[in-house]
């Protein structure tokens, strides 16, 4: 067992909030040039509390507003309404200068490391910039700090003089993480940080983020669409659909007894890497509606197998199911009582688990013998 295995159990409920978002609304568009006037309500009244030191995930399909919400939380874009408090300070009330200083504590890693690193800068400049800007180190100490950051993400210090194009996608994402962590943030937002990467590299970056989280103690908000990644990494999960959070729960509870019909459909749609678990999917029909013309009442009612008249007329409010768990569905109690969702318990074959264990052991041995492979 490594240090990463001890951390992800349920967070003690009394940890203080590091970030509190209240009633966030963000609209885009309403371009009159082409005669269109419906704005896209990307985020529509979202409230969310993040606890200090936890790993919280925001999950949803394209267009659900998860990335927009993430940017609003860090004030990378201005919300149209609502408030964000970070460590008790209202971020919306800060002027530009104060906000820039605050960014030392609030960082983000994006999906595409090809787009997020300036190709004209060396790694030393890319990682050194936040170090200088936030006054973490000065003069010759900057280079030392850059070398330390590279070491932290598993790259040789000699890479500092290279340019982004000289690296693979996984190495670039390591550089992006080193840059984000260089100012010593207390909150890190990962916006699909592993979705552009190949499976084996994805696993490296997930392990790296977990190790760094335990080592440096930052809070992680992970925005992702991959349910398996979220299950593996996070302690609590917010499920978004068309700009709203429809369910919020501890990760184990969400995956074992999903309450919202959308969460149930999402989990049932996710492929399982075991042919023995192959099943007839309870398929969700149709496409998600356009966020510029969301359905009336419950936004999910056009695709929901349990929808009734009330769902198309009345917008459900978020109900507390138990401490730390909420759902926005008029009929969640009936649906749960009817046992509509019984997700498949799936365990890989013993032989597969053994081989993976042998593989992992051999990796540990070969790296402890100094035969480590540069990522």
């Amino acid at each position: 067992m490594t240090k990463a295995d001890t951390a992800p159990e349920q967070s003690p409920p009394l940890r203080p909030h590091i970030l509190e978002a209240e009633g966030i609304v963000k609209q885009f568009g309403s371009s009159r040039l082409f005669g269109r006037s419906d704005p896209v309500r990307a985020v529509d009244g979202v409230s969310l509390q993040v606890r200090k030191g936890e790993r919280l995930a925001i999950v949803g399909e394209s267009g659900c507003g998860k990335s927009t919400l993430g940017r609003c939380l860090l004030r990378l874009i201005e919300a149209d309404a609502g408030s964000v408090r970070f460590e008790g300070v209202d971020l919306m009330a800060l002027d530009d200068k104060a906000m820039r200083q605050r960014r030392k504590a609030l960082q983000i890693v994006f999906q595409d490391p090809y787009a997020s690193l300036n190709p004209r800068h060396t790694v030393a400049t890319l990682i050194g910039e936040p170090i200088r800007f936030h006054g973490i180190a000065k003069g010759r100490d900057v280079a030392d700090h850059v070398a330390r950051m590279l070491g932290l993400v598993g790259l040789p210090a000699a890479y500092a003089s290279r340019y982004p194009h000289e690296f693979s996608g996984g190495q670039r994402q390591r550089i992006a993480i080193a840059r984000a962590l260089a100012s010593g943030p207390r909150l890190l937002v990962g916006d699909e940080p592993v979705s552009a990467l190949d499976v084996s590299i994805q696993a490296q970056i997930i392990n790296l983020l977990e190790d760094l989280g335990s080592e440096l103690g930052f809070t992680l908000v992970l925005i992702a669409h991959n349910l398996a990644v979220i299950r593996h990494v996070s302690e609590r999960v917010a499920v978004m659909y068309l700009g709203e959070i429809v369910e919020f729960a501890p990760a184990d509870a969400l995956f074992e007894t999903p309450l919202h019909p959308y969460t149930q459909a999402l989990i049932a749609s996710a492929p399982i890497a075991d042919p023995a678990a192959r099943r007839q999917h309870a398929l969700l029909e149709g496409d998600p509606p356009s966020p510029s013309r969301p359905p009336s009442g419950c936004r999910f009612h056009t695709r929901c197998a349990h929808a009734r008249a009330r769902c198309s007329s009345e917008r459900p409010v978020s109900e507390t199911v138990e401490e730390g768990r909420s759902v926005s569905c008029h009929f969640w109690r009936e649906i749960a009582a009817a046992g509509a969702s019984a997700p498949l318990a799936f365990t890989p074959s013993i032989q597969r688990q053994q081989r993976i264990a042998v593989f992992a052991d051999a990796l540990r041995q070969s790296s402890s013998q100094g035969g480590s492979i540069t990522p």
């Binding site: 067992m1 490594t2 990463a4 295995d5 399909e61 394209s62 693979s168 996984g170 190495q171 190949d198 499976v199 084996s200 590299i201 994805q202 696993a203 490296q204 997930i206 392990n207 669409h225 349910l227 398996a228 990644v229 299950r231 593996h232 184990d252 995956f255 749609s269 492929p271 399982i272 890497a273 075991d274 042919p275 023995a276 678990a277 192959r278 999917h281 398929l283 969700l284 029909e285 496409d287 998600p288 318990a345 799936f346 890989p348 074959s349 032989q351 597969r352 688990q353 053994q354 081989r355 993976i356 264990a357 042998v358 593989f359 992992a360 051999a362 990796l363 492979i373 540069t374 990522p375």
Partner: protein, 347 residues
């Protein structure tokens, strides 16, 4: 039964014993690479009628280039087949003229891609594009082609198919476009469908719809499917047979249950260990260190040796053959497999 259906039905009686597609020892090289470097190196695959073969691997493993070679769509003159054979219903595709290949493509064998917008022509309606392929290969009238197009849109469950015939690709959602592309590919009832990452760009609920659709259409028509993907979850959902590729070579091959329950190649094991599951957390991921070498650095011995924790001197000097394991069709290209016996051996 219309003219088109009858013609299609007449073509179905292919002997079930002959594989629809049989690729053997295929080697492909790019002119830009140093001599002796092959991006596909001794690749052998086969798929029978009504079966699904999944070719799985990460970026740069050669899975897409092999599927393009099968379709005769390799970029020329940049890429050339330097060895091996591609047999489709017993015929050697590599020996066919461009004209003969064009007769097969879109008729007996068809392909769908990850991004429907690059495969559909934005300037023509969906109906026109499907009808064009039917008219081209069935030699029927425009009206018959259009009727077939409408039938196909209904078969892929596009709502209001009759009106959707006149829709342009940009007027449809990603999932609907993928359905339209499948309708176009299957319009002439091909015996082979190659699907290159057909659901990678789609959301998970739409992916489940499209996979279910492909599976159902395949049951109805008996089409053999080669599905190229990086996603082991998709493989587990649809495959009968699996070929795992790494750096241009097939490193493990076998029935889907063998690959997932009895993975033999260290790369397959590492890939499975890299994937988090939907169940309770099983501990830290067993990530494979390093990354896939670029083609310039491809070794003539085992290409996974640089990342393999079980590597021996033999692995870096000699190419492991794709050898059979016990009974059945399970094969692995590794000297050391099965890995659990290694620790007892002197290394």
């Amino acid at each position: 039964m219309g003219v088109v259906e009858r013609q299609v039905a007449d073509r179905r009686d292919v002997s079930a014993t002959v594989p629809v597609l049989d690729v053997s020892d295929l080697a492909i090289r790019f002119a830009a690479h140093p001599p002796g470097i092959h991006v596909a190196d001794g690749v052998s695959l086969s798929v029978g009628p009504g079966k699904t073969l999944c070719v799985v691997g990460e970026s740069g493993c050669g899975k897409s280039i092999v599927s393009l070679a099968v379709m005769g769509l390799l970029p020329k003159p940049a890429a050339t087949v330097t060895a091996g054979a591609v047999r489709f219903e017993g015929r050697d595709l590599l020996a066919l003229s461009e004209h003969a290949l064009a007769d097969l493509r879109g008729d007996r064998m068809a392909m769908i891609f990850q991004e429907p917008m690059t495969a559909l022509n934005p300037a023509f309606t969906i109906g026109d594009q499907i009808a064009e392929s039917v008219v081209r290969h069935r030699n029927c009238s425009q009206a018959q082609g259009r009727a077939r197009a409408r039938d196909m849109l209904e078969r892929v469950r596009i709502p209001a198919a009759a009106t959707r015939l006149d829709a342009y690709p940009h007027e449809m959602s990603g999932g609907m476009r993928q359905r339209a592309m499948i309708a176009m590919a299957l319009a002439n009832d091909p015996t082979l469908l190659i699907a290159d990452e057909p659901t990678t760009a789609l959301d998970v609920t739409i992916q489940a719809q499209i996979l279910a659709l492909i599976r159902q259409l395949q049951t109805e028509s008996g089409t053999a499917v080669v599905l190229v993907t990086h996603d082991l979850g998709v493989v587990a959902e649809v495959a009968d047979e699996v070929a795992v590729m790494y750096a241009g070579r097939v490193v493990e091959r076998g029935p889907v249950a063998d690959i997932f329950d009895d993975p033999q190649h260290p790369y397959t094991i590492g890939l499975l260990g890299s994937m988090p599951g939907l169940g309770k957390r099983l501990g830290r991921l067993a990530a494979i260190p390093g990354s896939v070498p670029p083609p310039e650095a491809f070794s003539s011995a085992c290409r996974f040796a640089s990342r393999c924790p079980f590597v021996t001197a033999r692995c870096t000097s000699e190419r492991p053959p794709l050898r059979a394991l016990g009974v059945g069709n399970h094969r692995v290209a590794c000297f050391e497999a099965p890995v659990e016996t290694i620790s007892g051996r002197v290394r």
